[in-house]
Amino acid sequence: MTQADPVPTGFDLQASGLRKTYDLAPGPGRPKGQQVHAVRDVSLTLRPGRTTALVGESGCGKSTIAKMLVGLESISGGAVRLDGGPLDSQAARKKAWDAKRRIQMVFQDPYASLNPRWRVSRIIAEALAASGLRGGAAIKARTLEILSQVGLPEVAADKFPHEFSGGQRQRISIARALACEPQFLICDEPTSALDVSVQAQILNLLKDLQDRHALAYLLITHDLSVVHHMADHVGVMYLGMLVEDRSAADLFSQPLHPYTQTLLETIPRADQPGREPPRLSGEVPNPLNPPSGCPFHPRCAAANDRCRAEQPQAIAVSGGTVSCHAVEEGRL
């Protein structure tokens, strides 16, 4: 992502031209060697104290990007660089980890992301030990410190995950991530399993922690109101591609891509009762059989023959880029 503000380069996490391709097992009606492109040519940068958001509907590839950034998924193409050095192997990742340049992750499901048979103290202690902290007393003291940072009482340390509510478990999950003193935190739908009043608590917590530790966030979500509240920079994804990639201020004040526009218009708004939202016709295409040209053209009102034939390239606009023929030709 091209960010205009002058942050010293080097201390960042950068993905360039990221691709993820899955080979499909041949089956009935499926020839050998068929592939799915889950992520196609995505670039983004995470910088200290800033929040980058990836937004899109289910299956658009946003969670796959998160997994590639933390090394849970192999990379099919492109590169991930930390402070300029490539993270191309587990060894390189381990080296960066040992050098205290760390990427941590907060998962969507606060029920599955904590080992149900471990007490909170052990969950946090494991993360502390993995970060190089030694000595029982030191680990215990630090555990309590971190728990209080995420707003949990000391007695929480001696309990099991099932004794907590969803919001509190997400706090434990965040505490585990913090224990490693990461510079980069990937939040994959951190609040979509939570109630809205609990979501507010967790989003406030994430903001406080960012201010305090100058964390770089990658926020992955389908909820544009959360993106609006949190993000400095937004990437809108559709079928594995970034269709619009701009600063949050520009994107929300003047969305350019037709998909971004419809997404913004279709969010149900509690503050506008009785509004008849415009509806987006059709459904997200099957990634096994993506449309030719622009992936969005079957659902786009502004699509013409060029959109159906030719895949749009990113063009520079205020605050970032957008990939749309209609915008390029001034048809919108």
Binding site: M105, N115, P116
Partner: protein, 313 residues
């Protein structure tokens, strides 16, 4: 979570947590499980303390004059021998108690062996996948295509061929454990492999991988405790199976030597006298075997249902 409740730790607290928990409640309210547990633990206690409980010592030179005595309520029975005596004048009740001790020991040891083997191989196959997985699971498949009893006979045969009949008598017990244990590991490996495949995708495992926690630690500290539920269930049912396997092998004459009382050898020796009217020598050990394996099976069935979250409570 309320902040007022103080956390509970230590073995006493763990115990009180257990008696507070759903499992104990579920157990308390299932009469069949309670009856099965009482029978099983009653029999086990009697077997463990056979030396003290048994009215006679069957290993002391018996008086042949007491041979073939029927149970005390039959004519010709005596109050000294509750369930009668065998051809050598040994007290059947005492024989059963000592025999059960051996049977239970063989059963438990065999289950332990197959659990350790099966769980380890299943974990490795499920977690690492690929060639390792393929090799382990193909071996399991091959073994599954033979009946367990045949595998046990094979192992027993190989040992007696290489060590000779004489040493075999001394080695009988460990060989029996080995034969039953090795023939039974496959189902543990399969179950554990399937659970591991599910568990390794869970997010808490992914979180550990992000922190570069070594695979061995993830495998044994994270995944293993979370997949022990089904293992405990199969283990319980497997205990009944192993006890029966011991009896079968001993009955067939490839298990323990006739001089060492086990439920299997007792049934075997008694069987020779069944049609000459001395039914008690084989019926009482057989009834004990049925009671023992039935109670373990009923308890295991209950445990399987109780630990399965999908069956409504």
């Amino acid at each position: 979570m309320s902040d007022a409740t103080s956390p509970r730790r230590g073995p006493a607290a763990a115990l009180s947590r257990f008696f507070d928990g759903d499992l104990w409640y579920n157990f308390r309210t299932s009469p069949l499980a309670v009856i099965a547990a009482i029978i099983f633990f009653g029999l086990s206690l009697a077997a463990i303390f056979a030396q003290f409980v048994a009215p006679h010592n069957p290993f002391l030179a018996p008086d042949l004059m007491d041979g073939m005595m029927p149970p005390m309520w039959e004519s010709g029975g005596s109050q000294t021998f509750l369930l009668g005596t065998d051809d050598q004048g040994r007290d059947v009740l005492s024989l059963i108690l000592h025999g059960m001790q051996v049977s239970l020991f063989v059963g438990l040891a065999a289950v332990l062996l197959s659990v350790v083997l099966g769980v380890t191989l299943g974990l490795i196959a499920g977690f690492f996948g690929g060639v390792v997985d393929a090799v382990i699971m193909r071996i399991a498949d091959i073994q599954l295509s033979f009946p367990n009893i045949l595998v046990a006979l094979l192992i027993d045969g190989m040992v007696s061929a290489s060590f000779g009949r004489a040493t075999q008598a001394a080695l009988a017990l460990p060989v029996l454990v080995l034969a039953i244990g090795l023939s039974d590991w496959v189902q543990y490996a399969r179950t554990v492999r399937a659970s591991t495949l599910v568990e390794r995708r869970r997010e808490y495992v992914q979180a550990a991988r992000i922190m570069h926690i070594p695979s061995v630690i993830i495998l044994f500290r994270h995944i293993l405790p979370n997949i022990m539920g089904p293992v405990v269930v199969i283990g319980t049912l497997g205990l009944a199976h192993a006890i029966i396997a011991e009896a079968t092998l001993s009955f067939l004459g490839v298990g323990l030597p006739p001089t060492q009382p086990s439920l299997g050898t007792l049934i075997r020796t008694g069987n020779d006298y069944l049609f000459s009217g001395e039914w008690w020598m084989t019926v009482f050990p057989a009834v004990t075997l049925v009671l023992l394996s039935l109670s373990v099976n009923v308890f295991g069935d209950w445990l399987r249902d109780a630990l399965n979250p999908r069956i409504g409570k």
